[in-house]
Structures are given as structure tokens and as C-alpha cells.
Symmetry: C2
Subunit: 217 residues, 2 copies
């Protein structure tokens, strides 16, 4: 409850502002470190598998000691869950933007596929979407599945819009969304970061093919 | 070296024939048991993850004891490798048949997608194609990658045929094959064996969509 009594005196308020600015700065650094840890972890998971990679290796790649890493994450499973959360945050953000826009369903889908390939290849190497889900604790698994289903539904919604406008042929959007999801989520399995194809090439070609199959014949 | 001396006397030969008939029967039973083990293992891997499933659980589901299972497979990694080998045997067989046939590229691809969905869903629950490859020993991993690449190349060949005949639009068959592979190999991630869709439904719808995107616009 907000009352006059709770308003701080000017000096105390200034002190509080300074403190919260400092805290803001600190929490920014902390957030950046967390993301660095997720990137290091997902690279290690990709290379050695979730079970093969150790917290020591994840920390060592960042010239950090294990104890310091434990300040940010309690254990390896928490890092894995945070990777999932991070990817889903990015995907959800991009889905919300896409759904809100006034572009055609085809343009929306192209943008979605494009951004999604970039999240997968350039941010967390696809790990979070790809790794053995059964390594997650039951509570974390439940959260991840809810968020994955949200994303599935968003993709279906864009497909349905395209069908309603007549741009896409009528079909079951559930299967189409699964086929799209699979094609894109599988990319980390064959992508070679040292190969000739950039994530832009892949995003464009995948969007071309996956959208062509939706149009009215 | 084959010499006259090595020809067995008639009685010995009969005995040998009887023995090899018996051995043939025995090796048939042994092969069937091996496949039962692979099926039990892939169901357990699917449910609990490769690292989560134990050899005891795989044996118990077959009312077999662990010691008996070790007669067939030295350890869990060998079972995993055998799952991969089994799926690749089936896929290679079906690819060879498809490539040899005189059907159109579109008909070949439809057949390939169809049979492939069935191998994934009805035979080994997709495990072998899907599981963390890094759980394999380096030598086994190498073998699996060679075989996977063979299958990729076969799919590309069918795509190229279709482009050459003018049925499919010109595009890079490598990316198209990866998109196809991903869409199909991802199926075990969302398929619910107790859900309303049969493997036939999924195979037909996936083939419709994945082929529609290849046709000349």
C-alpha cells in the first residue's frame, strides 16, 4: 500500500537512486556474464554432449574458475535450463513482433524462419532447442514444453492466417508447423561453422523451400 | 586355399549339414533376439534418454536377465551402435530399391519419405537417428557418419533427377535434402504414439508438403 509515510526524505532518495544505479550496472554485468556462460556451455554441449561436458570446461573456456561460475548457476542442469529459457525468450520475442506486424502471412513466415535460423546458428548453436530434454529436471522440462508449445502455436497461427487469406493452400497447420520446426531445428546437426555456407544463405534457402510448399499449387 | 583334401567324407558332410542347419536356426533366433533387444533399448532411450536408461531396464522389459543380454551385446554403447546400424540398414535397403526403380523422381521421393517415416516411427522409434551421437565411441561415430552421408547423397540424387527432368525447380539439392531430412528426423520429438495420428497420416502429409515445395512454381 502506497502512503505518504513511505516517501523517502530527499537525501535518502538520492542515496537510494545512486545505489540502484550501481545495482543496475552490477546486474547488467551479471546478466552479460550469465549469457557468456550460456554461450560457452552450449558450445561445450554441442561438442561433447550434455553428459560429456563438465562445469570445469565451461568455466575454463571463459577463464573463470568453477567456484565463480557457481555464483551464477547452481549446477549444470540449471545452465542447460537457462539455455532453453534464453532461446525461448528470443524466439517468443521474435514471434510476438511477427504476429503483431501488418505484413502478409508469407512475409511474416519468411521473417520468422530467418530470425529463427539466426537464433539457432548465431546465438546458442541450437543446443537449447536440440539437446536431450530428459536431462532436464521434471519441473524445468514442464516449463520448456509449455514454451515450445507456445512457439508451435504461434507458427500455426501464421500458417492459418495465410490459409485464410488464400495465399497458402488449405492443410492441417499442425503437421506443417511440425515439418517447418523439424527442418529448422535439425540445422545444428549438419551445419559446419567452418563450411562455406553462412547463416544468411541457409536462412534464405530454407525460407524459399519451406514457403514454396505452402502456396496454392 | 581350396584343395581336394578339404572335401569332407559323405557321412561327415551330412553331419556338418545337419549342424549348419541347426546353427542356421540358432542364428535366426539369435538375430530375432538381437532385434527385440534393439526395440526394447530404443523405447527405453526414447523415454529416459541414452544416459538415463540402464541395461537392466532394457533386459527387464524383455523378461531377460542382464547376463543373458550381455551374451548379445558387450555394453550399452554397443546396443546404441547396433540401433544406428539397424536403422541405416533399413534406410539403405529402401534407398537402393528406390534409386533402381523406373518411377518418376516425384514418385521415388514420395516412396522414400513414406518408408522412412515408417522406419522412424514403427521400427526403432527414431532413436537411432536421433540420439546424441556423441554417446558413440569414436570408431562407431565415424561409421554412423559415413552411412548417414551415404543416405544424404541418395536423397540428393533423387532430387537432382527431378531437377534434370524438369519436374522440380532448380535449387541446391544439398540444402533441400537437409531440410527434408530434418523435417522427417524431427518427428520422434513430437509424435505421440497414443495420439490420433497414425504413421500413415504423417507420412502422407509430410510427403505432400515436402514435395510441393520442390515443384516448378
Amino acid at each position: 500500500m502506497e502512503t505518504g509515510d513511505s516517501t523517502p526524505a530527499p537525501k535518502a532518495r538520492r542515496r537510494r537512486t545512486r545505489r540502484s544505479l550501481k545495482q543496475g550496472k552490477r546486474s547488467e554485468i551479471s546478466a552479460a556474464t550469465r549469457i557468456d556462460i550460456l554461450k560457452s556451455a552450449s558450445a561445450a554441449f554441442r561438442k561433447l554432449g550434455y553428459h560429456g561436458a563438465t562445469v570445469e570446461q565451461i568455466a575454463a573456456a571463459l577463464q573463470m574458475n568453477k567456484g565463480n561460475l557457481y555464483y551464477y548457476f547452481k549446477n549444470k542442469e540449471e545452465i542447460l535450463f537457462a539455455c532453453h529459457e534464453y532461446s525461448h525468450d528470443r524466439l517468443q520475442e521474435l514471434l510476438d513482433e511477427t504476429v503483431r506486424s501488418t505484413a502478409s502471412a508469407e512475409a511474416k513466415l519468411r521473417r520468422l524462419i530467418n530470425a529463427w535460423v539466426h537464433v539457432i546458428l548465431d546465438e546458442l548453436h541450437g543446443t537449447a532447442l536440440f539437446l536431450d530434454l530428459e536431462a532436464l529436471s521434471p519441473a524445468h522440462l514442464k516449463t520448456v514444453i509449455v514454451r515450445r508449445d507456445q512457439f508451435d502455436r504461434g507458427v500455426r497461427q501464421v500458417l492459418q492466417e495465410g490459409m485464410a487469406s488464400g495465399a497458402f493452400a488449405s492443410a492441417d497447420p499442425k503437421f506443417l508447423a511440425f515439418a517447418l520446426l523439424g527442418a529448422v531445428n535439425w540445422i545444428p546437426r549438419w551445419f559446419n561453422p567452418n563450411g562455406p555456407s553462412t547463416s544468411d544463405d541457409i536462412a534464405d534457402r530454407f525460407a524459399d523451400y519451406l514457403i514454396a510448399g505452402l502456396r496454392r499449387g
